[in-house]
């Protein structure tokens, strides 16, 4: 796409995924790292540089082969980067100044405070018991003692629960520059990937929710399971944060959500980030491609960081090296057994708790994605819905807008049962679960359903909306509510526009709905037609019997004796 060559400091999984994105655009990449690191595995088109990304000479060698340098890790030698830049004029994104600011977490905090970005209260602290005790007394226990540098995945952090922990904390973090951070009583951790163009425009990916386990990112939910307002607020906070850093490239902004809805920036990564791996499957443009576009000046249109479609929901699960040799591959195998899940392994040799890969799970709803996650994590033994075996496959779907409709709708189920028709019955609310309804309607036909019975009361949109999204015949049952005698439901269901019919039965008459469904099945399979004829004969016999009795007894006696 572009004749620029990108040099990458660091050849781990982030570098590897940058290489993959660049290759798809015919953009050449050269890796600087020790040995045959993961990023080098998938790039044979260039000679890479073996060496440390902290070594100035190696960086200079890399610069000589490239048009732009970038990093997959912030713990680089920024002084060396600056000198190479001065000497050669090579472009470096993120800027060495930005990396320098971010890799010292306390400088990072000061920078954010200076730019009016909300953060947890922090202060630089001397490495002695007195200073630690004072901070705790002033800001309360527990608080966090953190190393200013080389801190990631929980390394370099210590939770000071009480003053008894102080000596342990000092021992754990000895000989490191420290700062103390007031504990933020967060209800969720959120994160937003933001990409910044050379012109300074910023584009945010959706707000995600991150769940950590033993201080390492474990699961990411995209979008975050919070309301739209908080999602939007988090995106704006992340965009404002990234606007404070000149240069270009992608940034991960981690935040705390407090119980009152307040958001505090926790920390920033000036590179692709674990919380953005979901973008590979959930967005058309991944965080890696966004980074490549940003640092080479390729187009970044409005909305290019959006989820692929309006009902894309994603979950990312990290695959960490397991205790048992290759134990982590069990999750991967279960992921491969799960429709909508995909596995990314990084070509690393296994070590306990090492990031070996990740799994992305996509669903049309978060519920669907969560059910798949449960299967992969062995918390459930079965996959969601659509994988029902053929012999138990329901032919009729019975749905209702609310459980309050069940007393009425169950009469139809009784009929289906009586005829031996395989059917399913569940609650699908047009107004309270519109995504579930959409999925139900779209998938019904492919799951083998032949007719849908939908009952609803009041504004009663369920039958009509389902009919609008499936080619199956939909039978609507107006359910009588506490007002208007069910005329409202009847009107809502029967008065459909030209083109989208709903087979409407009488108010509360689920029995007829079921009989109609069986008549429809009869057109496909003669056995149902035969059953229906039998049923009709029985009805006829019953009425003829009554007529005969009425005629022979006379109407007055009949009225007295039988009704």
């Amino acid at each position: 796409m572009d004749s620029q060559v990108i040099g990458i400091l660091g050849g781990g999984q982030l570098g590897r995924m940058i290489v993959e994105a660049a290759s798809r655009l015919n953009i050449k990449t050269v890796i600087l790292d020790d040995g045959f690191s993961p990023a080098k595995h998938i790039n044979a088109a260039q000679d890479h540089i073996d060496g440390s990304f902290k070594d100035e000479e190696a960086i200079a060698k890399l610069a000589a082969k490239c048009d732009v340098l970038t990093v997959e890790i912030e713990h680089v030698n920024t002084d060396a980067l600056k000198r190479v830049q001065d000497r050669t004029g090579i472009k470096i994104y993120p800027l060495p100044e930005t990396i320098e600011l971010i890799k010292d977490k306390y400088l990072q905090k000061e920078h954010l405070i200076k730019h009016n970005i909300s953060v947890t209260k922090s202060q630089g602290i001397e490495s002695n018991e007195k200073a630690l005790l004072l901070f705790g007394e002033e800001n309360g226990f527990p608080y966090l003692l953190k190393s200013r540098t080389m801190a990631y995945d929980g390394r370099g952090n210590f939770v000071v629960e009480s003053k008894e922990d102080i000596s342990k904390a000092l021992e754990f973090l000895k000989d490191r520059p420290l700062y103390a951070e007031k504990f933020a009583p967060f209800v969720k951790e959120l994160a937003v990937m933001v990409v910044r163009s050379l012109e300074g425009e910023v584009f945010s990916y959706p707000t995600v929710e991150t769940v950590h386990k033993d201080n390492i990112c474990h699961i990411v939910y995209a979008p975050a399971r919070v309301n739209d307002t908080i999602q939007k607020k988090a995106q704006i906070l992340a965009e404002n944060t990234v606007k404070t850093f000149p240069g270009a490239g992608i940034f991960g902004v981690e935040m705390f959500l407090l119980s009152d809805g307040e958001l505090l920036v926790n920390e920033i990564a000036p590179r692709p980030h674990n919380s953005g791996h979901y973008t590979i499957d959930a967005c058309v443009t991944s965080q890696f491609e966004a980074h490549v576009r940003a640092i080479t000046g390729l187009p970044m249109p409005l909305d290019f960081t959006k989820l692929s479609t309006s009902n894309t929901n994603a979950i990312m699960l990290n695959v960490l090296g397991a205790e048992k040799s290759h134990g982590e591959l069990e999750f991967c195998r279960r992921a491969l057994e799960t429709p909508g899940a995909s596995v990314y392994l990084y070509g690393k040799t296994t070590r306990l708790a090492r990031k070996m890969g990740h799994i992305n799970i996509i669903g049309s709803s978060m519920l669907e994605a969560e059910q798949k996650l449960e299967y992969i994590l062995e918390e459930s033994t079965h996959l969601p819905s659509s994988t029902v075996s053929a012999d138990t496959k329901p032919l009729v779907g019975v749905i209702m807008g609310s459980d309050s409709d069940l007393p009425v709708i169950s009469k139809g189920c009784d009929i289906l049962k009586q005829f031996g028709v395989p059917f399913e019955v569940t609650i699908v609310s047009a107004h309270r679960t519109p995504q579930r309804m959409t999925r139900y309607a779209f998938e019904a036909a492919s799951r083998g359903i032949k007719a849908i019975i939908a009952g609803a009361g009041g504004a009663a949109h369920l039958p009509g909306m389902v009919a609008a999204m499936t080619p199956l015949p939909v039978i609507g049952v107006p359910v009588k509510g506490s007002t208007l005698d069910g005329v409202d439901s009847l009107h809502s269901i029967v008065q459909m526009p030209r083109g989208v019919p709903v087979a409407t039965v009488a108010i509360n008459n689920a029995t007829n709905a079921a009989l109609l469904a069986i008549r429809i099945l009869g057109t496909i399979d003669h056995k149902w037609q035969k059953e229906m004829s039998k049923y009709m004969n029985a009805m006829e016999t019953e009425v003829l019997g009554k007529a005969s009795n009425l005629e022979s007894e006379g109407y007055e006696s009949y009225l007295k004796n039988r009704l």
Copy 2:
């Protein structure tokens, strides 16, 4: 994921994309092809084999390094493959027997006919004028004269328009084994990718529509723009076709759709296929990963070949080498400017009409994807909808289920205009365009809309359904239809369940809906509140004037003079 090593005969773009999919699963691949072919660029973890994939010795060398062999092209030396398999016992998928059958297009046809798969009438034909004339007289002109072997992308095909073409046809295809094919008057060309497991299960991807230009695949629409029944029929035909071939792997099945809905299989590719490139973005598991899973025995669950979400729509555009040097990159650049589009380049040197790459476009609806395609193809100069500049951004969205509602709804637009409120007005039908409605509802808030006015008649589901899918206030206008005096619409709109309110105004009263919308805007921006107060004052003044006149004139005179 798996310790098996895959050897690939052929290192073009298909091989390259197989390598990419395998790498993500930590599955090793070794390429056999001449020179530094595209697939080798992205695989530095193995020593590849330079040589021809038709050379038996080279194939044997490849087999020695691998556990399973596969092909990215059917024009291989199947005799050599069989001999290597006999000698070494290596697994080869697709089976050499299958490749042999498919690479001779006439044997392929005979095989399909034998298995009751519908195909266009074809017959082997001798390379002379008499035979060609006879076929034309018996089956009609135009018909197709085809080479049985080495035919792809239109090479090896000749359309015999009339008997005058016969000598040209013979000259074009001289010295090749031929067959003649009756012309199928198709209305569309469809294709389905089908993957077959080692156990013989088959899984079909969605039915797509292919559009060819100069005999080369140009555009693919996924899913095909045909009704669900035809889509399903095409999938079943493709599955039945692939069931006739033992072994494992992915197959592309190309079909003709005739005007009466009949489907005929045109031809089969025993490998990943151009018509399946859309799966990289539109499906969680791409055709390349499906192939890797199939030939290594990894899990292939039900539904793993589905589109990512229920409203994923995709278009694939091939990027062919342009006449002007690097002219094809202009389309790529425009694709990068398009949200939801992504570019795949194969690392090849440009040649006229060579397949250099492809572009995938994703949309929540096919219409959205088509609009993006128009932009990329320079048939339109602007990108679809959501990229409206901030100053013209509408604050109120006015939607109606049908243009027949416009005479009523326009009264509300008049009010918005009178107040100077930026608004948009369009048709969104809950029943006829449910996907468009879903997108409208989901995107309205993020586009800056503050209130939605929705008018509908009859069953009138639009306001309630939109309210169910947006956190914005929705104002419902019941439109009076030709029956029931609008009571049906009123009930449908106002009788919403607990939890999802629609602000319902009187039947046909779009004026009040607009005024309500402006009151809502007033809570955000005081200027609208001031305008509303002015409007209310004017109303008051008007009524007070009337009251004063009525009082001074007396009611009888007022009635006579003014009403």
